[in-house]
Subunit: 441 residues, 2 copies
């Protein structure tokens, strides 16, 4: 089955007992950096590469703007990160952790995968293994990436080199579940490569490594995880709309339902970020190309993508009911990142909320203590970011992203920013007691 070339290459990897394995991690973001630091501990020759020069220089300076790895980890890898691919020629095990976003039409943008594959292809040698970690639709690794590798290397998969897929399961900002203690799924184009990939990840993942039946199965497993989460949140978001019409507090209902052992305790909210709100579109894109319209998944996407408009309308209605003039009142949004305690703003739905409120002619400020360093970047985009909020200034405040810092400051801090107690505190995610806010979902 496997050719002599393949066998020789992989044998070299395995005989070196892995410890001298030259690994290259391509893409040093939320996924790549933690992976690089863990690999580096076990495989000292591991290097990291990113086309983003600024990011690489930052890492060389032992600074991680994503807040994902420790100072010690940065010490370990700071000399091994590059924005030039010169080190690729010594590597035989490539791991691709580039982003897989969607464009403005919610269509998968595979350019980062394309460029990474092209680059690796131009360095690929006999026996090498390329593992993709980026979330894609089932089939993308073999149908899209592999031909690029083959074209740029002149080599043939499963004869000259091997590929694999191991979905990343990084949860940005999560301090409990980190790379080593999240079970890792691996798959490969042939069994020899699968054994090698398994052996590599086995060294760094304490939670265990699971061999999936095929690359497509591993790709599918990843994309459905976030699709399931997205759909479950969309149900709760839909319920908030229904219960609002019935004058029922959704959080009361969720609390009562949660007393059943098998109720799934999802909360309503804005679904942003580069995963949950994006991954389902990869699956639906592929499904539609095969002639199937995924109505459940896309119904969920519609609810979640339109939810910022609903949230905005709730605030506007409340302001008008309380006889506030929208034109002359000021609103403060607390939190702008796509999730709590994480400085990532990619695909944040707070932007949609801000834009929608601005369309009602409301004057909105944004305050996010996690983004003080990058405040000028956001201001340049025309967003009214502020460095610190002034007391008794706002007619309405939305706690959109409840960073720990906001919770620690307590509800009195937030209320102190309102002009008076008739003003509206919209506790979007029902963080504080019901009596402490006058609006929630």
């Amino acid at each position: 089955m496997a050719s002599k070339n393949l066998l020789t290459g992989i044998k070299n990897i395995m005989e070196a007992n892995l410890k001298d394995l030259n690994i290259c991690v391509i893409g040093l973001g939320y996924v790549g950096l933690p992976l690089l630091t863990e690999l580096k501990k076990k495989f000292p020759s591991t290097i990291g590469f990113d086309i983003n020069k600024k990011r690489v220089l930052e890492l060389k300076d032992k600074v991680d703007s994503t807040n994902e790895v420790s100072k010690e980890a940065l010490e370990l890898i700071s000399d091994s990160v590059f924005y030039e691919p010169s080190g690729f020629k010594n590597c035989c095990f490539f791991v691709v952790t580039v982003p897989t976003p969607v464009n403005h039409h919610n269509v998968p943008d595979l350019k980062p995968l394309h460029d990474a594959s092209e680059l690796i292809g131009s360095f690929l040698k006999l026996g090498d293994i390329v593992v993709y970690e980026s979330t894609v639709y089932p089939g993308a690794t073999e149908e899209y990436c592999l031909p690029i590798l083959e074209k740029n290397s002149g080599l043939k998969c499963n004869i000259d080199f091997s590929i694999g897929y191991s979905p990343e399961r990084i949860n940005p900002g999560d301090t409990k579940y980190r790379l080593p203690n999240i079970k890792k799924v691996v798959s490969a184009s042939n069994n020899l490569a699968l054994r090698t990939i398994f052996a590599v990840y086995h060294k760094i993942i304490t939670a265990g490594v699971y061999k999936a039946a095929s690359i497509k199965v591993a790709e599918a497993a990843k994309v459905i995880e976030n699709t399931q989460r997205d759909l479950n949140i969309s149900l709760i978001n839909e319920l908030t709309k229904i219960f609002d019409l019935m004058d029922i507090d959704t959080n009361d209902v969720l609390e009562a339902a949660s007393t059943k052992w098998n109720f799934l305790n999802f909360k309503p909210g804005l679904v942003g970020g580069h995963c949950i709100g994006v991954d389902p579109y990869y699956l639906t894109y592929k499904a539609q190309s095969l002639g199937y319209y995924p109505e459940v998944i896309l119904a969920g996407r519609r609810i979640n993508d339109s939810y910022p408009k609903y949230v905005a309308s709730k605030l506007i209605k409340s302001l008008l009911k309380k006889k506030f003039s929208i034109d002359n009142s000021r609103c403060l949004i607390l939190g702008y990142t796509f999730k709590e305690n994480c400085p990532d703003t990619r695909n944040t739905k707070v932007l949609d909320l801000y834009n929608e409120l601005s369309n009602y002619n409301l004057k909105v400020d944004i305050y996010d203590p996690l983004l003080i360093k990058s405040i000028n970047d956001h201001k340049k985009k025309g967003l009214r970011f502020i460095k610190s909020p002034k007391k008794r200034t706002y007619q309405s405040i939305i706690l959109a992203v409840p960073h720990d810092e906001f919770i620690a400051q307590g509800v009195s801090f937030i209320k102190g920013l309102l002009v008076n107690k008739d003003c509206i505190f919209f506790d979007l995610k029902a963080i504080f007691d019901k009596k402490d806010s006058n609006l929630r979902l």
Copy 2:
């Protein structure tokens, strides 16, 4: 707040220290019978009522066709069940556990609730409490049932009597989670009644009793539990359709995805019964009357309601690919009830599967060992039920409802019913090893 009448009535209940409380359970099906038996242990005067004379006579004979309660429990209650409401006049605490189905247009059929409320209303006295357990849309107890009680009693709620809502959480056929060890939600129209209702359930529920914020909240909590389950299964069913187009085995994907700590392990399948496939329609019915079209919930319902057609088409395609003549081949469906190990056939989707296969002109037999006693009822409806399957008879077999009995007999029993090994064993729920079947979802 509470009137003298109300206070006196409830005081009587509480002062009797509950033990002499005369409770009446209306509706003695899957929900009412277990409730009656538990109440009877703590409140010896409790009686049960059902308009179904056959069911009552069966219970008097200490036979329970639903298999939900023990012989000892039947001994305890057999003298206290009636199909005439004569005993109502001594009761002051009524619990309504009648069915709440949908009609052929998937519109809630509230007739059982109507009739039960009318009957109770005609017996209602000062201080009485009426608790509803039937699953309804939020608002139904107060907007629909209460006016019937008031009209037929001439009494006023919260002045002369009280109402409450405590959603049933019975899981038919479940031997682990039984009435006493499932936390119970209670709610009431006033605080005095809430305390009484809490006290009554507290005596029989060891898992604890939870006071919901209002009757509407308790109604909503129940209806979303099954809506959530229905939607999650619909997602997996949609995924099977997508993965089938990609030549991916869904069960392989689910196994890989389940290695993530927070993946929710739902399985594809037919969603029937009187709860999961029905309750969401109660919620969407009410939502639509308020002007909101619940697109996520109804997308899920569409997938699940149409799933039998999809399952049928999979079998027909497989038969044709294997060059079987549909006209001249015989199919056996194993299992007909709406779920495993439970003789309940209400709203079973196996009927839809049977009808759809018959529409392809396939000759289909049904074998369900749990329905041997009622086989003639099913035959009268024109269904080809058989008492026991013959060996080497079928070109295809669908294991639709994997009762423990089928699993215990093993795959060799099932395969022995096929004409030869080229024939198709469709392991719908992937109960046996992948290699043991030649078709699954």
